[in-house]
Amino acid sequence: MTSFFGASVQRVEDDRLLRGLGAYLDDLGDDALAAAFVRSPHAHARITDIDVSGALDVDGLVAIYTFEDLPGRLAEPLPLLIPHPSLTHGRTPYPLAAGEVNHVGEPVVMVVARDRYLAEDAAGQIEVSYQPLPAVVGLAAARAAQHLVHDDVPGNLAGNAVQENGDARAAISAAPHVLELDFEIERSASTPLEGRGVLARWDGQAQRMRIWTSTQTSTGVRAAVAAKLGLALADVDVITPDVGGGFGVKIVHPWPEEVLVPWAARLLGQPVKFTEDRREHFIASAHERAQQHHVRVGFDDGGRILGLDVRFWHDNGAYIPYGLIVPIVTSTQLLGPYKPGAYRVEFDSLYTNTVIVTPYRGAGRPQGAFVMERTMDAIAAALRLDRAVVRERNFIQPGEMPYDQGLIFQDGRPLIYDSGDYPALLAKLKELIGWDQFAAYQQAARAQGRRVGIGLGCYVEGTGVGPYEGGHVVVETSGKVKVATGLTTQGQGHQTVFAQLVADELGVPLADVQIVTGDTRRFGYAVGTFASRAAVMSGSAIALAARKARAKALRVAAEAMEVSADDLEIVDGIVQVKGDPASGIALGTVAVLSNPLRYAFDDAAQAATQFAGGDASRPPVAEGEEPGIEGRAFFSPARSTFASGMHAAIVETDPDTAEVTILRYCVVHDCGRLINPRIVEGQIHGGVAQGVAGALYERMAYDDAGQLQNASFMDFLMPYVSEVPARIEIGHQQTPSPLNPLGIKGAGEAGVIPGAAVLAAAIEDAEGFPVTSMPMSPSDLFELRRTHKDTP
């Protein structure tokens, strides 16, 4: 029987979605009242008055709420999700502003009305008076701290953290060569096509809350809402509907709306729904990527890094609910596949009067990769060495695995790479892109007046971050298999990929397996979908759960068939003696037999009733056993598992218009074993598109007053098909992970991580001057050319 593991099976989710039968948040709750918000138009201000009188006679208005209306724990700041000893001045927002606003878009007043049109009408009639305060915008202003975002946070410093391995400063002092470099990356954002949304129904009779929310963590939302509303966990259900993309932004919870909407639903005794619009998504969700880095690196004549000292400043926006995760990821993942002699990294996470910063696909790795890879290129340039050769000399070798970088990773655990073969990966990439042949091509192009350049970038990605995930597998009496895991899905094909695992483990047809994710009613212990962890964590847990179910099924079948369980196999849902299909009984029948009955509810169930057979001397349910064919398992690894990859690109820059065209884009990646190769490739395509977009098109354009000037798709340049490479050439390598039963590593974020690094390198190679900040628009390139006019 062929295995589903490793097969590019078509997705089971597609039929429904293709017919327009998806159920995304706004498709639900047609009977619900609609919520809208009055949001701050100022980046920093004190609220001096809120006059709602003009809204009161808007037809269809149901309620208006301000901070003054919030009771108990709702009148406290939203939770600081990930505390850290270095996060000394963590500040989170109130669900509705309590006298002060700290970014354009911060919610001040909540309006509930019969529909969204009327809610917006009412919101438009509410007059909020503000006393504007000086706005802190951008890292320079945050660092200078001439003005403060929060009065009680000196220097706008949320936290400062240092990690080191060895004495980098001493190593640099002693090094034959030293370079000092500065880099800058600007803000971008996840911008999924579907914004945020939450729907809440309060059952007054049962005193239970049911919430649907477009989230990456149903259990996270449940816990937070229960805490804020004083409800028991068991009295709150959170269901994740179909989600139109997340890319990190939907891991943040609880959004103000996620606590306010359920609260209002309970107060009003009617369902309430909030569907974010696009402008709100730009100014009231989350951004990421803005950092400034200062690097000192000491290296030898061969380009080996003896000491690397990185100091950086991270813009975390007006509040910091997600803690220091992004800069911690930058700090640790910056090292990539390399082993510098000594490493020191220090960062300041700073407040600004802008939208909060939380993980966006890559979650700090793109910044780290940019810095490390540009540094490698700078070393190569200084020594006039081939850029690939310099990297090769710095690689951790396969024989050195597992490799301890001597730092603490974002999961609070040691940064130890479990497996990987970086030299082989680079060799594959060089062959794929034609690295060694490029110089000749570049010469020929130059002779024709063309500017072409090549760049490469390497990364390592810690995936499958803990603490755990779980899986529950149930074989029903029909023979169908119902599986649940608590984390969520935003398009990654979990319904298919997890079904592949179960079909393999249990020996059932793929079509008989149904997967449910992100529903606390079905599985209540979970963390969430982020950090490329779902396949590793839930995949492993589900596989383990399926193995338990299988073992149980074989035990029950063995007893019924009076054979040893070792002699049995399951093929296409039939439990049979190995190689003897005629002997088999359906898995569904085994499920019937596993639940000793007094009452048969249908014909098939008669086989399990008390006069149908069995050993009358033993208890119907053996000690330590349970009725039914179920398996429940959790997977909780000691550490993350490290995927890796390398990208290369050839670009052409227009000498006149400074437009950048990507001629080729190559990816080699290693995420261990692949469950569904086509789904993994799809993830890479999407990630590369975001990497290219972040390098050439996307940035959040704040003015000095803290106004976001491009809060729409018209001016925030999400790429169309015309802006992304037509062809992405992908090579694979598989170094299995020793840390989980499936040998897999995460693949969700890989495509985006080195994009900016690779394109900066290629543009630099084409133009002949350093590129140290991204993104780079044609206008930026034109201005850089003017600055470097003297460079031949």
Partner: protein
């Protein structure tokens, strides 16, 4: 429904079925289709006409339903994603192609692509790769990087040809 505002009669034929609704003038066609007619397959991604998720066929031509008022569409023949499958339920060539080519991930932008490509292939039944790219040039997708969407256009053309050849 918004009260106190004047309501206008709007007659729409959507996926071959006749509908009659009474809506305020400002009701966007996208909201009318989704909430007044209950056809939630058409999605709203931006409400300023850039993303294309709301694209429907108006008298056969792709238009942004978020950039139209429902009242303006009075009397029109509209096709949404729910109307693309064959009468017997078989997925249309475009829908089947997306399944074959892994052309969707989260599925949110997909209905806008499906309607756009359905009309595109009517006009250009045998597109080359560049034409396929142009056909989908006005729709945003955040998940797929477009690679498999372009492949789906070409595959859809192929399926269309195959089905036409098989017809008696």
């Amino acid at each position: 429904m918004s009260g106190g505002e004047e309501l206008h009669e709007v007659r729409l034929t959507v996926n071959g079925a006749a509908y009659q609704v009474r809506v305020p003038a400002r009701r966007l066609l996208s909201d009318c289709i989704r909430h007044d007619l209950g056809l939630t397959g058409t999605h709203v991604g931006c409400e300023h006409g850039v993303c294309g998720a709301c694209t429907i066929l108006l008298d056969g031509d792709p238009v942004r339903s978020c950039l139209m008022l429902a009242v303006s569409a009075d009397g029109a023949q509209i096709t949404t994603v729910e109307g693309l499958a064959e009468p017997d339920g078989t997925l249309s060539p475009v829908q089947q192609a997306f399944a074959d080519c892994h052309g969707l991930q989260c599925g949110f932008c997909t209905p806008g692509f499906l309607t756009t490509i359905t009309a595109g292939l009517r006009a250009t039944p045998d597109p080359g790769e560049q034409q396929a790219r142009e056909m989908v040039g006005g729709n945003l997708c955040r998940c797929t990087g477009y690679h498999n969407i372009v492949a789906s256009v070409l595959r859809a053309a192929q399926i269309q040809r195959e089905r036409a050849a098989r017809r008696p």
